[in-house]
Structure formats: C-alpha cells, structure tokens
Amino acid sequence: MVGEIFHFQQQHWHLLPQRAIFWEEEKALILSDLHLGKAAHFRKAGIAVPAGIVQEDLFRLQQLITQYLPTRIIIVGDMFHSHENNEVQYFRIWRQQFSNISVDLVKGNHDIMPDALYGQLQVTVHDTLTLRNIHFIHEPCEDSNGYQYTFSGHLHPAFVMHGAGKQRLRLPCFYFGRHCGILPAFGHFTGSANLDPYSTDAVFVIAGKSIIRAQ
C-alpha cells in the first residue's frame, strides 16, 4: 500500500489507499462513512448480503492503527448505518483492544442510535469538531465557514477521468476544494457519487493499492 503525503494548510495529511487520512501533527486517523451494521441490517430484513463485510472493514482499520499508532480516531459521520444490531456489538468487542485510543464521532445523518449506547462503545459524539482551527462536519459546505479548513464525508465521492480514444475511468477519491475537503467512504458496503470539481481543486484517486493525484 502506497500513500501520498499531501502538505496542505500547513499540515501533513497522509492520504491512504485504505480510504483514510493520517493527520501527522495530531497523530489522528480520519475516516468517514463506515456504515457499520449495514450488512446485518439488511440480513435482519431477509436480504442475504454476505455476512463478512464488517469484519473486513474493521480489520482494515485495525491494520491502520497498528501501522500508524494514532492517539485518536476521528470519524466524520455515518459510523453506524442504522439501529443497533449484533454488528454494533461486534464493534464493542473489537473496540476493547484499543481502549487507549479515543474515538471521536462527528454525527452523520445515519447515526441515529441513542446517546447512551455510544458511551458504552467508548465513542465520544460531537455535532461538529474543531482541532487546530480545522473543522469537521458530516455534510460538506460550499462556502467559507470562518475556519481555516473543513473536512466532511457524506457524499462517498468518486472521480471520472476522460481521455483520448473516448476513454473513461471512475474511481473513489479524496477531494480538496477551496474551503472543504471530502473523504471517501471507508466502509466497503457503500456506493459512490460522481464529483464535478473546479479545475483549481485537488483530487486524489484511489487506484487499487496506491494514491494518484488526478488534478
């Protein structure tokens, strides 16, 4: 896996093909849109999607933790997909091995479980979060909001590239707009939406095991 260190807003952002960012100055892993519990939610309703997705997603997170040794994990919304189910309990057990790391959740539209439950899972819930004047909020904003920079999720962004011979390629991406950056969805059982960035925006696509700057 080859990441890309993006020096931006006087900070070092390690953009990782595992669909997360390691923020060097804060020793924080930033990710978004895990949608934990989504597969179980479907299966409970009689829709037989494969059962092993949550394990893989959390295993990937586990590998990132052991590699980058973060002190905190910032999740920019949609950590859980819906109501409580057994995959949420699976997360509780998984969580215990990293009880020294704090998990900060910036609430997304899918995060609808009761507050007490997040407490049991050792997850601190915020409406928004600001560190070093960097702001975290689930839904992206178009205009300046007074902070130095903002990170969001929600969209599950993908980028489409066109080229000679009428070629076309579509990949998940990290997006950095003028005021707001958008993270790719971390969870595997999630779709994606096409972005239409300005030419001045930075876009990094996730090409299998590496990160490539697309514009």
Binding site: R43, K44, P50, Y90, V205
Partner: protein, 816 residues
C-alpha cells in the same frame, strides 16, 4: 370422423345457426382435448385459436353434465387461462362470456390481474368463477395466499396463451413453476395446453410447457396461412440520405401517402423515444392529423392506452405511433396498414407486426418498411427472402434461473409453507430446472433460511424458518413485502409524471429525470413539459412552449439482429455486389455501394472486411461480421483482449448490427499476418471469461437477478421513505458478492446469462469458424465509409484495456 359427442353437437348447432363452420384445426384440438391430451395449438392470429381450446372445455362440460349443464352454477374453478397481457384479458373475457351466454352455459368468467379490484378479489375468494383469466404474476400471487390449494380443487384445464411470447423469458419460467405446483396438486386430472404463433422450435416449446418428461403431448398445426405484402419505402434522394439518422425522421414525409390511403395505420418504432419524436413530427408535417393521430407505448398512462385501444377498435383513429406495446394483443379490425420504421431485427417480430393489419381471415396484411438509414434497405430485402423461406427464429428457453426459483420458494413460504422434498420433485420435472443439482437446491434453501454461509454465530438473518423438511415464513411484514415484489419484469425505477394543476401524464425513468435541471423541457406522451419539481415519487410538470425539448431515452430499447436475418443479410450484400439483382431495395442502394467500393470494399459472403481509419478521435478499426450487436459486443471484447496481449493498449468499443469498432489513442497492431490468429477459436471460453467485459456485462444482468431474487428493497407504495436504510444498488451488491461470496449462485447466474444468452457463445463460435475459412480483406480508407459511419457516431461505448491502472490514469491526466 369419429362419433360426435352430445356437447360437440351442441357447439356445431350453435355455429351452424350463425352460418359458421369450425376450422379443421379447431376440430382436431377438440378431439385431442376430449381424449384427455395436453399440447400446443399453432395457428395464425385471426382464425379462432381461443375457441379451439375454450370450446373444447365447454364440450367436455356438456358431455359430463348432459341433463343439467344449462343451470349448474357455482362449480368452482374449472379452466385457468394464462395470458401475458392484461389488456388481452378483457377482450378475451368478453368473447368467452358471449359464447357461453349463447350456448346457455351459466359459467362465470373472471379476470385476475394487477388491475383487479380488491372487492372482486374478495368475491373470487368466496366463490371462484368457472373460468379465470390471469397473468403469470397474478397466478403466483394466488399461490402466495393462505390455503391456496382450495382454489384449485376442481381445476382440470390450464391454457397458456401466447406461449411463444412467454417462453423465452423469465415470465415463462414463472408459468413453468406455477404449472409444476398445479400438476402436483391435481396430478393426472390436469390438462395443459399452450397457444403459440409459429416459431422455429415449436417442438421444444411443447417440452418447455409440459416438462421434459411428458409423454402424450401433441402439436396441432393449422394449415392456414396469412398473406403478407411487404413494400419498402425507398428514399427519393439516395445520395443526400443520412447514413445514420437513427430515427428515420427524414423519411417521414414519405409515410404520409400510406397513412392517407389507408383506413387506419399502425406505425411501429423500435423505441419509446423514437415514437415520441415521430408523433410530434407527424403532427408538424401534417397538422390535419391532429385528433386522428395517437401515441401508444409502455410509459404512457394506462387509461390513455386503453382509450387508444378502444379508439382503434371503433375506427376513429387514422394512425397510431406505437412500440412493441402493440406487438401482441387484441385484433383491431379497422387497421389495414402497418408501417415499420427502422429494422424490426427479426423475422418473427416482423411477421407479428405485419399481422396487426388485415385481421379478417383471408385478408392480406400490408406492411411498409421505412428505413432509418440506407443500409437498412438491405435488411428489407433480406426480410423478404427470409419470409419466403419461412426462416422464423427460435425462442431460446430460459434454464436454471435461480432468481425466479428463490422468488417462487418464498411465495410458497409466505402462503402455507412447503415441504422441501415435495417441491424438489416438482421443480425437477420442469424444463427450466431439469438439471438443477441437489447441491444447488440445498444452497437455495440455505440462502432463504440462513442467508447463505453465515460465518458468525451472532448472525441475525431472518426470512424463512425451517422445521425438518418444512419451510415457512412467519413474518407478516416480510410476507407483505414479498407479495408486493412478485414478478420478473424489472424496470428502472419509474416516477409518475403529473401536471401541477393535476392530471396524470405517464411514467418516466428516474435516471432520466435525475439528469434534468429544473426548468428543462422534455417530451412525454406527445407533450412538451417543463420540469418543476419532484415530490413523493412524482414529477410535477407544467406545459412548455419551449422549442427545445429533450426526448427521454429509455433503457433496453435496442434489439439485436437475429442470426437468421444476419445470414440473409450477408447473402443480400453478395447479391448487391453481383450487380445482378432484381430487388428494388438493392438497386436503389447502388450509389451507396459504389461509394463503399470506391473508398474501401464490399465484402462477399466468403470475406471478412476490416477497415483501419485514422481521424482526430484516434485510430479506428472497423470489422464487419454482420452477426448482430450481441455477437459483435463479445467479438469486439475478445479481439480487444487479444490485441491487448500484443502490447498494452486501451480501446473504447462501439457496435451495431453490421459490425463493430475498436478505437484507441495509439495505432492498432492488427495486420494481414496476425489477423487470422486474432479471430481463431483457440482458448475461446477461457479468454471470454477473462475479458473484462464479461464482468461488466454480468453486472448489468445482475440488476434484474437481484430484484427478482428479492435482494433489492423497492419500498412500499407511498411509503418509500421509511426504509431508506435498506436501499442499495444492484451494482454495489454485485461488488460485495464478488468480494465476499464469490460462490454465490446468483452471481454465477449473472455470468451464465452473459455467456449463454448475451454472448450466445455457440453463435460466436460459428462466426469465428466461418471467419477461419473466409478471406480477410483489410483496407485503409482515407475517410469514413458508408459502412462505418453509423457505428462511429454511436455514443454507447464500452472500454477494454490491457494497460496498468496507474498507467492509464497518468495518461488520462496528461491528456485531460
């Protein structure tokens, strides 16, 4: 003739009183029916196919109750009549009712379809009519009701109408499954009959209907023939003719004389968007048609369609622009001409459409062929030849449709539950599932009870419960959801279109609307509409005066050329080349052929033409096998894959029914030396499977499969928002199954459908074998040729690459 029974005499007298005599095939059908046989009746439309079976059942009833048949009522369901079209049911029911009334048989005729009201359903539950006309979907809904076997305790006959239409589709599989259950319930007492138009594989159609193990099936063929007159409308100016005007609008003025000289004309187009454009352009060209011209296609409001059909009956319309929506169906007597715009792509479909005119027995069906681009004139010539030789296509039956079987098992589980062994025996007797393995069967049961391989003990999968051999669904919510989802016709999510001021226009694909901006104008049901907003799955619009309006394109509108027609087409090109033809179509095309010959070459039947052309778009390679777009799609992918092994290269691929194009940003290394090898049959299957496009094609197939198998939650009517957390796209499911459950049978089915139906592997192999003994002619035209132009302008494209992902991205970035 044999001794006529009492019932037979009653029928003969009734017909005699009207100065009618049964056709020979009708008498043959009655005889076979009275002997207790099952089978298929094959006759052209307009000759009383319905009565060949319906009256058979009436004769048997009179014979069984000679004394009291005129006043015996409430006899329970005797005859089940399965029809693919709701619109057919009403007319059919009327015809049966009037016959019964005149015969003094007090049977009731009921209809059961998506349109049947709740009150009527409830009344039917209390007392079933003797005859029930039903769609395949509604029949499965009956099987999804508690205590459904009670409905069928007196049933002795099932007739499947338009079997040739149902057979090649998953709706046909639904019929096979329902029949297997009815046979299980009624055993020897059930007679099964199909009614079919002529198709290439009628014997196979019988096997599919009765199951591969039947032993007494009979096919009754009428000797009656429909006379068909085909005339091509040849463009006035051939040189200026657009080579690729898909819609054929330039030819529209030449259709007016046909419309004016006929009582009523049906104008068949191949897509809904084309029909919209034709409707509007006809009104512009001839404003006198206003009020006498109508539009009919699958996206138009049902009530409006019914109105159009009634108006056709009554002869108040001069012309109707329509799509396959009027292919089947009731006879509109006033229709005396049919115009086919663009290629019908197959002989069977062409005959079917021609048969929509001149419906009286003995009348001539008149059909005019109006080409949308010049080369289609060759198709007209080919069609004529194929019709003369009666080269009618076969319908390939669907096999091992796991998705439909999963849906069916769930249907049985939500009603009374089922014993797996009993159903297994029944299912194995069907044509579709005769080769279903025990392992696959166990997998399917597990998929419904434990949700596949559940790895973890904390899994909460819930659907069907199992006790020993007995499977049942006890969740009322899931049962309700399942009943709403029964069926195999999958369309893109459709939204209703309504005026702000009220008034329903029709339905439109969600995908199309999502590309519009508020204020944009689009065309539906022949009207210009301005998009205002979407609310509760409804698109609100107002009338628009905008000159510029977008015509929605609908998915799945493209029909591939059949192999029969492809072969005839190659023969006709040969004939054209001989300069020794009497076909007016080919003579008209001579200037175009001359240009093709001058710029490149016209391939003979034993040649394969390849053109290499360089334009500002890049390097083009055009290949012309004349095998239809499905085969071309696969061949193009295969060729791209094989060239990609010579050196890393990326292609975008386009195709039509005559040939295909590979377009690249670098020169394409195909030469006279390696051409033969690139088209060889060596390692065909493995190379097809490794080609990227197989996965992409399977992904498209998986969409329908996922919906049919109940993996896509479509929400409840009017309640779509409450379940947002259960929504996912089929494409996403395809990804997660591929990553986490690659052995999944539904995934395998998607690939099977690609290889057997879409790729038509057998046909591809034949084509390659033909090429192996052909001469390959490579030309390097200085500009685009008449042959390649229609392909080049096609915007639907696939991609095929052998370059590394990183390299491709880097190139795209530097070029973009």
């Amino acid at each position: 003739m044999q001794q006529r029974s009492g019932g037979w005499k009653v029928i003969n007298k009734w017909l005699g009183d009207k100065d009618l005599k049964p056709f020979k095939f009708q008498e043959e059908a009655w005889k076979a029916y009275l002997q207790g046989k099952s089978g298929i009746v094959n006759a052209p439309t307009g000759f009383g196919k319905t009565f060949s079976l319906f009256l058979g059942a009436v004769i048997a009833w009179i014979d069984a109750h000679p004394k009291d048949y005129t006043h015996k009522t409430k006899n329970g369901l005797q005859l089940l009549w399965i029809t693919p079209l709701r619109a057919l049911a009403k007319d059919l029911g009327r015809a049966m009712e009037s016959a019964l009334q005149e015969l003094d048989v007090p049977w009731e005729v009921g209809i059961r379809s998506g349109d049947t009201s709740v009150a009527i359903r409830a009344a039917q539950k209390k007392q079933m009519p003797e005859v029930l006309i039903i769609t395949p979907e509604s029949l499965h809904l009956l099987l999804a009701q508690k205590e459904y076997p009670k409905v069928f305790t007196r049933l002795h006959t099932v007739v499947v109408d338009e079997w040739h239409e149902l057979m090649g589709s998953k709706r046909g599989v639904m019929v096979e499954l329902a029949l297997s259950r009815l046979k299980g319930l009624r055993r020897e007492q059930l007679r099964l009959w199909g009614i079919s138009a002529t198709i290439g594989n009628l014997d196979e159609a019988l096997e599919v209907l009765l199951g591969p193990y039947h032993n007494d099936g009979i096919i009754i063929r009428s000797k009656l023939k429909k006379k068909i007159a085909l005339k091509s409308v040849i463009p006035d100016e051939m040189e200026n003719y657009p080579w690729a005007g898909h819609l054929g609008l330039k030819m529209l003025p030449q259709s007016l004389p046909v419309i004016h000289d006929s009582q009523t004309t049906l104008i068949f187009t191949n897509t809904r968007s084309q029909s919209e454009r034709w409707y509007q352009s006809l009104l512009v060209e001839d404003p006198m048609l206003a009020g006498a011209l109508a539009l009919h296609h699958g996206s138009i409001d049902m009530e409006l369609r019914i109105w159009v059909e009634e108006a056709l009956h009554n002869g108040i319309l001069k012309a109707v622009v329509c799509t396959a929506s009027l292919d089947l169906g009731v006879d509109f007597r006033p229709v005396d001409s049919v115009i086919q715009v663009g290629s019908p792509k197959g002989v069977a479909r062409f005959l079917q459409r021609a048969g929509r005119s001149g419906h009286q027995p003995g009348a001539v069906s008149k059909i005019f062929f109006l080409p949308t681009h010049a080369l289609e004139l060759v198709e007209a010539a080919a069609l004529k030849a194929a019709m003369e030789e009666e080269l009618i296509e076969s319908k390939m039956p669907v096999i091992l449709a796991y998705d439909v079987l999963l849906q069916y098992l769930m249907t049985l589980a939500v009603s009374d539950g089922f014993h797996a062994n009993e159903i297994w025996e029944e299912v194995r007797q069907t044509f579709c599932y005769q080769h279903l393995t025990e392992d696959d069967w166990q997998w399917l049961l597990a998929f419904l009870t434990t949700g596949g391989d559940a790895l973890a003990s904390y899994d909460e999968f819930k659907k069907i419960e199992r006790t020993g051999d007995f499977y049942i669904c006890r969740s009322r919510m899931m049962a309700m959801r399942h009943r709403l989802h029964i069926g195999t016709i999958v369309s893109d999510a459709m939204l209703k279109v309504k005026f702000m001021s009220g008034g329903y226009v029709g339905v439109i694909e969600e995908g199309f609307i999502s590309r519009l901006q508020v204020g944009d104008s689009f065309t539906l049901a022949g009207r210009n509409l301005e998009y205002v907003l979407i609310k509760d799955m409804t698109v609100l619009v107002r009338k628009s005066n905008s000159k510029k309006s977008i015509v929605p394109s609908y998915q799945g509108g493209r029909i591939p050329l059949s192999s029969n027609l492809g072969r005839k087409l190659r023969e006709k090109f040969n004939e054209a080349l001989s300069r020794n033809t009497k076909d007016p179509e080919l003579i008209a095309l001579q200037p175009l052929f001359n240009l093709q010959e001058e710029l490149s070459h016209i391939p003979q039947a034993n040649e394969l033409l390849i053109e290499q052309i360089q334009t500002e778009d890049g390097y083009h390679l055009f290949v012309y096998p004349f095998e239809g777009r499905l085969v071309h799609e696969v061949m193009a992918a295969l060729l791209a894959y094989r060239i990609g092994r010579i050196r890393p290269i990326t292609f975008s691929i386009a195709m039509n029914d005559y040939g295909f194009e590979l377009l690249s940003d670098q020169p394409i290394p195909l030469t006279a030396d390696n051409a033969k090898q690139l088209f060889s049959t060596d390692n065909l299957l493995t190379e097809l499977q490794t080609s990227v496009n197989a996965t992409e094609m399977a992904r498209r197939k998986f969409r329908d499969i996922a919906v049919i198998a109940g993996l896509i939650f479509q929400g409840y009517p009017g309640k779509h928002k409450a379940n947002r957390h259960l929504q996912s796209s089929a494409s996403l499911l395809f990804n997660v199954f591929g990553d986490y459950d690659p052995q999944n049978l539904l995934l395998r089915q998607a690939f099977n459908e690609v290889f057997f139906y879409q790729m038509e592997e057998a046909r591809l192999r034949e084509t390659l074998e033909r090429i192996a003994v052909s001469k390959i002619v490579i030309t390097f035209p200085q500009k685009l040729t008449p042959f390649c132009f229609p392909i080049k302008v096609d915007s639907l494209r696939d991609t095929m690459t052998s370059e590394k992902l990183e390299d491709r991205i880097k190139k795209l970035i530097t070029n973009g």
